[in-house]
Amino acid sequence: MFVVLRVLPGDPAKMLLPEGAPQSAVDELNRHLGLREPLHVQYAIFIRSVFRGDFGQSFQYRAPALRVVTERLAATAQLALAAMFLTGAVGVSLGIVAAVRRGTRYDVASTLFAVLGQSLPNFWLGIMLILLFGVALRWLPTSGFESWRHLILPAVTLAAFPTALVARLTRSSMLEILGRDYIRTGRAKGLAERAVVLRHALRNAAVPVLTVLGLQVGTLLGGAVITESVFAWPGMGKLVVDAIFFRDFPVVQTVLIFSATIFVLINLLVDLLYTVIDPRIRYS
């Protein structure tokens, strides 16, 4: 929570600076945050109201900003979880295959996929997927939020970049572990190759991979902003883009606080998971 608290201070005060903001907005926040007070007092008041669950009123929706944001949270969570699942499943498998079959065409294909995944901008990938599967083939819906079929294209779009990253990292991490002595020992004592790779190598290669997966939550939250805009997905990302154009600062601020908090919490969870995966890691 310490990091979260440090993330917060700039935002409320900063949000007030733009000259283009309507006077009503300035008045509202002025009154709400007590901006005539010295900065540290403001900060204390702001923190206190956030902990009371008071994030201010949305100008655009005329409702509490907290409620506006939480209503959209589920859609983003759905999208991010689907993308996270794809990233973990596809990225790790590709990485393992590339490492185990090092130098073969599987390795080349996986590496090529990874380089491409990291180079295609996700907004363009999204548009091309729409063009191919929506406009040309008419297989999948291109926008909206109704069924699981609507989820496929946005989730693939969002997952492409982190999947590529995870695949590359899994590959290099696995390669390093596969060269260790205990892997040779494992093979020498007649363990099945599958057991060597999955039980001995993967588990040891998992810590850096998990770290990056955790950090990808940030990529996913950031990518969701763009992906949701491309696919008209009614989540937090689209909300925050709309909110900027409406100069709806309480909503922008709430989304920022939420995404930072989610990011920090997930990474805390990842830190705790280390001890499960690698019992050698202990936190005192």
Binding site: P18, G20, S119, P121, I127, L131, I226, F249, L256, F263
Partner: protein, 293 residues
């Protein structure tokens, strides 16, 4: 949590996983791709057939040459009849210039912070590293959104956002390097001989840190191009009618069903540049610093 971040971890990685190669094909291809785009953008006024901003309604939505279009507009025209090639070339000037300046600023700030944090006292170090943590806790796009919400959209604000998103990587790398190099025997020897801090930094620490900085810079250039075009795509970067790759993509989105080339051309260009920078970065890494693999 801090110590488990991947940037630190990758620096401490054990035995080298990749091997030095005399000539690195990906790096050469990447470098060529980048050089070609940069050259084309620099020469944009000479190369572009028409004005990239002025509309010509009589030629709206002309398809690319060979697909029903004319050689006058090789990549076709957009919804306002502007030549897409001309807009790509001129957009490249803006996108690439913004990305380069941002990388340079981010690197300069990051290196200075890293040096100060690594060689200064513990409190300075702690302060800067907490700052880096805070920075990392917000997704870059969210950070950009916060800044754009405050200062509005201008090229200077964009560079600021991009540079702000980039300095942490350099700072952490340089700091980690300073901490290791400082304890090496030849540096201690230099101290004993009476070399000043500044001299140690300039003669011993910086040259040893150059390789990872080059690698980060090259890969980051790719990130910056992606980020800039992403922000422009969302309407938070370069504003119309200025050509920018991201903005062109956003404009082309509305014509997907009847004029696919509007969104395809800028997307391909962005992908190629990013691919080039990524390949160059990877190649440089293999070449200069196998530890980072």
């Amino acid at each position: 949590m801090t110590d488990l971040f991947v940037t630190d971890r990758s620096l401490e990685a054990g035995p080298p996983t990749s091997h030095r190669r005399p000539l690195n094909a990906p790096a050469v291809i990447g470098g060529l791709l980048l050089a070609l785009t940069v050259l084309a953008s620099v020469l944009a006024p000479v190369l572009s057939p028409t004005d990239p901003v002025k509309p010509q309604f009589s030629r709206r939505l002309a398809p690319p040459w060979g697909l029903g279009g004319t050689p006058a507009h090789v990549l076709g025209t957009d919804n306002l009849g502007r030549d897409i090639l001309a807009r790509l070339l001129h957009g490249g000037r803006i996108s690439l210039a913004l990305a380069s300046v941002s990388v340079l600023i981010a690197a300069a700030v990051g290196i200075v912070v890293g040096l100060v944090a690594g060689s200064g006292g513990e409190r300075v170090d702690a302060l800067f590293m907490r700052l880096a943590d805070v920075q990392l806790a917000l997704p870059v796009i969210m950070l950009a959104i916060a800044i754009v919400a405050v200062v509005g959209t201008s090229p200077a604000a964009l560079v600021g956002v991009l540079a702000l998103s980039g300095w942490v990587l350099y700072a952490r790398t340089v700091r980690a390097n300073v901490l290791t190099i400082r304890r090496l025997e030849y540096v201690e020897a230099a101290y004993t001989l009476g070399a000043s801090d500044l001299r140690i930094v300039a003669r011993h620490i910086l040259p040893n840190t150059l390789a990872p900085i080059l690698v980060i810079g090259s890969s980051q250039f790719a990130t910056m191009v992606l980020l800039e075009s992403g922000l422009s795509f969302l309407g938070m970067g370069i504003q119309a009618p200025q050509p920018s790759w991201g903005l062109m993509l956003a404009e082309g989105r509305d014509y997907l069903s009847n004029a696919w080339w509007l969104a395809t051309a800028p997307g391909m260009t962005i992908s190629l540049v990013v691919l080039g920078a990524n390949l160059l970065g990877d190649g440089l890494r293999d070449l200069l610093d196998p530890r980072l693999g």
